[in-house]
């Protein structure tokens, strides 16, 4: 009886140990691979870190889209209504990217204050506003209410 209990205790202890080690590893890996979200206002205020991959979101500023003549280099402004930042990107923009559209970009902030994006996300749905963009706009108090949307779809 005591032997089985001892065995069981050992089992439970080793299980707990390995579970906590695994969780610790997972959390460490998680910490290294998260991309924090910043609004344009926060970035302009210098709250965002330089040189690490972050997410930023807002509306593409009207009339700000600027395209290079001989490459896929583009530059555009992203605004939350209060402040705006300049995003540079090299590559093909998503189909739903257009001025006035809510987007999320992932990239690094460099010393010139521009965000060098490696990924630009615009959503499939014209009525859809990424939650983070909505958050940014609400932070800047440019919209009072959440636009209600009719359209949705399966995953």
């Amino acid at each position: 009886m005591t032997l089985t209990r001892k065995k069981r205790m050992l089992w439970i202890l080793s299980l707990l140990c390995s579970a906590s080690i695994a969780t610790a590893f997972a959390l460490a890996a998680l910490q290294e691979n998260i991309n924090l979200f910043y609004t344009p206002t926060q970035i302009v205020a210098g709250e965002a870190p330089m040189g690490t991959r972050i997410r930023a979101g807002g509306l593409v500023e009207e009339g700000s889209l600027n395209r290079a003549q001989d490459s896929l280099e583009v530059r555009f402004g992203v605004t939350d209504g209060a402040r705006s930042i300049i995003v540079r990107y090299q590559g093909i923009l998503p189909d739903l990217f257009r001025e006035g559209q809510g987007i999320v970009v992932l990239g690094k902030l460099e010393n010139d204050g521009k965000l060098y994006a490696d990924q630009v996300l615009a959503k499939h749905d014209e009525n859809y506003m990424p939650p983070e963009t909505l958050h940014a706009l609400k932070q800047a108090k440019t919209i009072r209410q959440i636009p209600s949307s009719k359209q949705e779809s399966t995953e």
């Binding site: 695994a22 997972a26 959390l27 890996a29 998680l30 290294e32 691979n33 998260i34 991309n35 924090l36 979200f37 991959r53 997410r55 395209r67 003549q69 001989d70 490459s71 896929l72 090299q90 590559g91 093909i92 923009l93 189909d95 739903l96 999320v104 996300l121 959503k123 499939h124 749905d125 014209e126 009525n127 859809y128 506003m129 990424p130 939650p131 983070e132 958050h135 949307s149 009719k150 359209q151 949705e152 779809s153 399966t154 995953e155």
Partner: protein
């Protein structure tokens, strides 16, 4: 009139679901067979009414009845008929109707196919499924009625189906996914019924095994189709994003795979009983979580669409009730369950345990990564996302370990395996696998440790499977022995082979892909890998419900034309949506992928070119896994047969 009948049928189905959920359960508790007998007709009636309701919605779509709001939002008179039909599940309301229809279908199948079950057990199983059905029907009728009419300002034409969903993969993807999600409710219902019964024996595991395996196979096909759709239709050429919604369907699949293996151990040896029940509960709970994540719109995802928060709350409350209730029941009942059987270190039981451990840890890691942003947002308000590197760092090593273990698992025997015999069996397999890996590592110019590693592991699994087949047929000889092997045995090998093929494809394509995004004017060409892509400009395009540009790209290799690719850029005028239609020239060893970006000055276009080696192995492997599951589930021993007398006690008939 017809849409109203559809709604009426839905309400009748809800009434029947409620009957099915309550009366047989009470009957099973009071041992009143008359009450228990109600389960079957209630399930049949519910299925019939839901089929009728679904037909009504289909009728509204096919006849362009734009007075129905849901049709007006998701269809258009210009849409080809097959997209009109698939538009039924193109958005929330209709896909929930499909969900409950499939649930009723599974219930119907259980009531027909499980005739060898004791009446009390069947009554309880059908009741539990009735409870789930009641919840979802309430949800459907209460928050997302697909039959709502537009009374004023009836639109002349519909708002059209989201162009992204106008794809053959998306016609089949949701039904397959739901077949899987909902199918796990059968495993769940069996587990809960067994808990209620207090008898967690081998019989319970045998009954629920084929159902679980079939559900798992469907879910696998659904996930593979979704991945194919993302690859071909989203126009990015990526096959997996570690997107929250993808994860939501992948977690039940992983835990479901663990459940299948653990059910085998429970059936054959009577071990891991409580663990198996827990897995069955977890699998279905993760399916519900998937529904919640997709339906509530709480996540930023490539799949996220605008959603209604009240729906999310309903599903969340329902999910917590189901999970909380079943876990409480588990805590109350599972203490009485004890496994008597013991097993040695090199037994099949141990290897199945390793399988379960790895699969559930993998699912837990994905769950952590998926929910972490949500939890942190709720606690601190910080907005963040978890990147693919986290998931890769967690998932890839676990799967490598799983591959290493699965080859051993195939050869080991129940109870214990003589170590010397096992060593003798596996040593040549290991030697050849190492040789293959070494050859690959030295021969191939672009190879690295990942390629060598995956070749080692894939060969390891394949040869161990072959070795096992030879061993199983050694007494009768190969030609006489092969037909004698059971279907579940073949299914097991097919699925494991599929696992190896899938892993091979995933690693080879990740390591070997080359990609370029380039501005191209007509007449220019680009060399990428061994291929030369020449852009010949675009022509106008006129489709049934879209217009656009059609590009021509000639692909040459060593001076010979390999393919003429026609990527398209479509504009769907109704939704003002722009769609990229990639052109893919597929092959076993590589895919050539060309997609148009946007038009630039001087007739130039932004063009995305990709070469994806062995990418098709991923879906081939996934299909093999699913087919293996289906093959195993059709094994002779699962088909109706005489019930053992000990189980007969509860039957009145």
């Amino acid at each position: 009139m017809i849409p109203e009948l559809g709604l009426f049928a839905l309400i009748l189905a809800l009434c029947l679901a409620f009957v099915q959920a309550s009366i047989p359960l009470v009957g099973a508790w009071r041992d009143d067979w008359r009450w228990m007998m109600l389960a079957r007709p209630a399930a049949w009636g519910q299925f019939m009414f839901l089929v009728f309701s679904f037909t009504c919605l289909a009728h509204a779509f096919l006849t362009d009845d734009f007075t129905v709001a849901y049709v007006a939002q998701n269809s258009n008179s210009m849409l080809p008929w097959y997209y009109k039909f698939s538009a039924i599940w193109g958005a929330h309301e209709g896909s929930m109707l499909l969900w409950v229809l499939i649930l009723a279908g599974w219930t119907f199948a259980v009531s027909l196919g499980a005739r060898q079950l004791p009446e009390t057990m069947l009554a309880r199983v059908l009741s539990v499924m009735g409870i789930i059905s009641t919840g979802f029907l309430l949800f459907l009728i209460g928050t997302s009625n697909p039959f709502t009419r537009i009374l004023e300002n009836i639109p002349a034409d519909g708002h059209d189906l989201n162009p992204l969903l106008q794809d053959i993969g998306l016609i089949v993807h949701p039904p397959m996914l739901y077949m899987g999600y909902v199918g796990f409710s059968v495993a769940f219902a069996f587990a809960i019924a067994a808990l209620l019964d207090g008898k967690l024996d081998a019989a319970w595991a045998r009954w629920s095994r084929p159902w679980t395996t079939v559900a798992w196979s469907f879910l696998g096909i659904g996930i593979a189709l979704g991945s194919w759709w993302a690859y071909a239709e989203l126009g990015w050429g990526s096959w997996w994003f570690w997107d929250p919604v993808e994860n939501a369907s992948f977690m039940p699949w992983l835990v479901g795979a663990a459940l299948i293996h653990s059910l085998a151990a429970t059936e054959k040896r009577g071990v891991f009983k409580s663990w198996t029940v827990l897995l069955a509960i977890a699998t279905f709970s993760l399916s519900l979580l998937g529904t919640f994540l997709v339906r509530s719109g709480v996540l930023t995802s490539v799949h996220a669409f605008a959603t209604d928060p009240s729906r999310g709350v309903f599903v969340l409350v329902f999910m917590l009730t189901v999970v909380g209730g079943s876990l409480t029941l588990f805590a109350l009942r599972a203490t009485a369950v004890k496994s008597q059987a013991s097993f040695g270190i090199w037994s099949r039981e141990t290897l199945l345990l390793v399988n379960n451990l790895l699969l559930s840890v993998a699912a837990a890691m994905i769950l952590l990564g998926t929910l972490y942003p949500l939890i942190l947002d709720a606690l601190t308000g910080a907005k963040l996302s978890v990147g693919p590197p986290y998931f890769n760092a967690m998932f890839v090593p676990l799967m490598a370990l799983l591959m290493a273990a699965s080859a051993v698992g195939m050869l080991t025997r129940w109870r214990d395996t003589p170590t010397r015999w096992l060593g003798r069996m596996l040593a040549p397999v290991l030697a050849v696998s190492l040789l293959v890996a070494l050859t690959v590592a030295t021969q191939h110019d672009r190879s690295n440790w990942a390629v060598a590693g995956v070749c080692l592991l894939a060969t390891w699994i394949m040869l161990a499977g072959l070795r096992d087949i030879f061993d199983k047929t050694r007494h009768k000889g190969l030609f006489k022995g092969l037909p004698a092997l059971s279907r579940s045995y073949w299914g097991m090998h097919l699925a494991h082979l599929g696992f190896a093929v899938c892993a091979l494809g995933a690693v080879l394509t990740t390591v070997g892909s080359v990609e370029r995004e380039q501005r191209m004017t007509p007449g220019t060409s680009i060399k990428l890998g061994a291929y030369n892509f020449a852009f010949n400009g675009v022509t106008q395009l006129q489709g049934p419900n879209y217009i656009g540009d059609r590009g021509s790209v000639r692909v040459m290799k060593d001076g010979h034309e390999v393919a003429m690719l026609h990527p398209e850029k479509r504009v769907y005028p109704v939704q003002q949506a722009i769609m990229t239609e990639a052109a893919i020239q597929g092959g076993f060893t590589r895919d050539l992928f060309v997609a148009l970006g946007e038009p630039l000055a001087d007739d130039a276009w932004a063009v995305r070119l990709q070469i994806k080696p062995f990418v098709r192995l991923i879906w081939l492997g996934a299909t093999m896994m699913a087919l293996g599951g289906l093959l195993a589930a059709t094994d002779r021993r699962y088909r109706a047969r005489k019930i053992e007398p000990t189980l007969n006690a509860g039957i009145i008939e």
